[in-house]
Symmetry: C2
């Protein structure tokens, strides 16, 4: 282990003890100050961002990626507003979820406590820095942030600014830390920093998630890959189905809660498929259909086996005609990434079966998968969408960044 | 990856789909039948156990370990009773923990579902086989069991028996599987079987837990190490303190919820330490004291720095005199394994501080740490005691072997 990661780990762990004991008001005051300092220091941040942008252009980084990297006065305002919103959320720490009396007359309560030290490995968007840092801070966790090299200067400037606010608030600046080395070696060390990290959350593309999953011995929460489906049942209201499929595919195809494959019951395929093709045409969605679906479509390519397993994140939709809800559920459970799945149906029985039998973080009847989102679920925040089953599944808000401890009130009880 | 682990993984994953859809009554009937079949086949099990015992004696395995390995008619009855008790517990699967209406008028419910496939790596006691298998089965999870080589024949016979019951119940026998290879290589493969295993739970000594923690890329739930403390505050009722310390240390020192270190406030050390020495004498507890504590004790060795960090699991107690509750909390948070900690005090303020500031799965006021136990907490079962913060912390019952999924009832909602 390099000195860098060991030092960051030790400092974060020490700071976690102080942070876990802060009152909500202290945390909120500090967050409000961070937002203010961020707005006041726009110029510093924009200058650092300019360094990243210049380097990106030199390196021939594609334009959409440069756009994601670019900060503006407006975007910095939004980041500050994001921090203020986190400050306004209820503090999960200290809440006793339940309390009961045992047979031995002990009062046992389960109380929310911070996880401790959270590692975040993320890719280009610099707004993840302030988002993640404020959520970790509010939930009583120190954080070690390791961003991508493209946004290095922006991320570093943002963290330095937040550390300055911490210092001015008489708090340990190590509550929010930055890994100022973007090499793979250091990232790999972070994935094995079991002594100091309580959890590691990768935020980024499928490649990053896979790399972390294969290498990390620190507990990981996988986020984000969404190979999602809408199944249009024979008993669907077709107008509703069209509106939902168009929304789930084309409203914002680059996000993880968009869909990639449409499954259509054979009884309605001849009527529905031409309708959905027409509805998707204005969005220029390319269709990749199985042979049966092809016969009802004007313009489509033949889908390959690989298409069923691909998260396109683009204006591409795979389409398959199925003979039954059983075939739909089987296809979904085979190919999905356990993120978000929807059935469109007026059949009570089929809706209930779909909810019960489909394995995913979020399963919908008659709604767009695009609602899988911490804000839309009412959590007031989102650190990511977990696609694993351990600890947290689905959209993660502040509560999902906590653990619990049992607090037990006795009166001299001993065990016989 | 070897064929063995790949095949087991595939089979378990396929069986998990069937198991996740079983009704509670089907699961309970099958468990009751397993218990019956186990009792009816005592002789087969005892014969297999005899093979393990003979080999253990040949290999010069120490007697206490042979005792843990030994099955008797009585022990088999207890194992069967254990299975029946699991059958009688409420089924956690399908429970909707909460349900709410979002701003978009979606009804979102959080429903308990199985984790999927659970791997268990455990050491010598064969009763873990039926315990773990019945808990996993009841909570809708398939299980891959990899026991130690000492109990190989017993474990194998037990799993074969349970698989036979599954077959007779028209269920896939792959719901409960056994790794019939006790090599380290295969254990290491199991720790990296991310494609099929949803979680890995090691059950055994600190060495095993550490090995799994350092090697596994599959999500792990750490269980069991307990370097626990009782802090006797200056405001303690000394008779209560003696009864609790004696219970926590000497009632059963080999278990993870026993204590290893006693911390005593300096104001009461001269009165309390001779009393506790007298109380522990009948149990032949060896004392390892710091220099201040030594001066109040008749017979004690000087504690080394390493003693504070050691889980003795034996009739050994480390003792330290502290100047304040602050020093006690600091010592505990530095050396403990985050398992169970207790303060004995009549001071309301100190009790509350201890609960808030001590970092452990279970923190007690005025009770023995020996209550950290799924049965004593009222969960009706226990698969282990988690000492990590992710997913589950403290005693784990059936509910802790589950995940959740969001089920969402819509009415055509799309995202703007």
């Amino acid at each position: 282990m390099s000195d860098l990661m060991n030092t960051l780990g030790q400092q974060s762990k020490r700071a976690a003890q102080q942070l876990s004991q802060l009152e909500s008001a202290e945390k909120n005051d500090c967050l409000m100050q961070m937002a203010q300092d961020l707005e006041n220091s726009s110029n510093t941040i924009l200058a650092a961002n300019q360094q990243d942008l210049s380097r990106a252009k030199e390196n021939g980084i594609p334009n959409p990626m440069i756009d994601r990297l670019r900060l503006t006065g407006e975007r910095i305002k939004e980041m500050a507003e994001g921090i203020r919103q986190v400050a306004s959320l209820p503090d999960p720490i200290g809440v006793v979820e339940k309390m009961w009396r045992t047979e031995d007359q002990l009062m046992v309560g389960q109380q929310r406590v911070p996880l401790g030290v959270i590692g975040i490995i993320f890719e280009s968007r610099p707004n993840v820095t302030t988002d993640a840092a404020s959520l970790c801070f509010k939930s009583g966790n120190t954080v070690i942030l390791r961003g991508g090299k493209e946004a290095f200067y922006s991320n570093q400037a943002l963290v330095e600014l937040m550390q300055q606010t911490l210092r001015h608030s008489q708090l340990d600046p190590a509550m929010i830390q930055f890994v100022n080395d973007t090499s793979h070696d250091v990232a790999n060390e972070m994935m094995r920093l079991n002594e100091y990290l309580d959890v590691l959350i990768p935020r980024g593309g499928a490649g990053l998630i896979q790399r972390v999953k294969n290498s990390a011995t620190v507990p990981v929460i996988e986020t984000g890959t969404g190979n999602n489906h809408v199944y249009v049942d024979h008993a669907a209201q077709l107008d509703m189905a069209i509106s939902i499929v168009a929304n789930a595919k084309a409203q914002r195809p680059s996000v993880c809660n968009a869909i990639e494959t449409l499954l259509v019951h054979e009884d309605i395929a001849s009527e529905f498929l031409p309708m959905i093709e027409e509805a998707l045409t204005p969005h220029q969605v390319a269709l990749r259909a199985d042979s049966r679906a092809m016969s009802y479509l004007k313009q489509a390519d033949l889908a390959t086996e690989a298409d069923w397993a691909t998260e396109f994140l683009d204006y591409i939709l795979a389409i398959k005609v199925v003979a039954s809800i059983d075939e739909a559920i089987e296809h979904i459970n085979r190919f999905n990434s356990k993120h978000s799945e929807a059935i469109i149906t007026d059949s009570y029985h089929n809706g209930q079966r779909f909810l019960k039998e489909v394995d995913a973080a979020a399963v919908y009847i008659n709604a767009s998968t695009r609602f899988t989102d911490g804000f839309k679920f009412g959590f007031g925040a989102e650190i990511g969408i977990s696609t694993q089953k351990l600890h947290a599944r689905g959209p993660m808000g502040l509560e999902h960044l906590t653990s619990t401890k049992y607090i037990i009130y006795g009166d001299g009880q001993i065990r016989e």
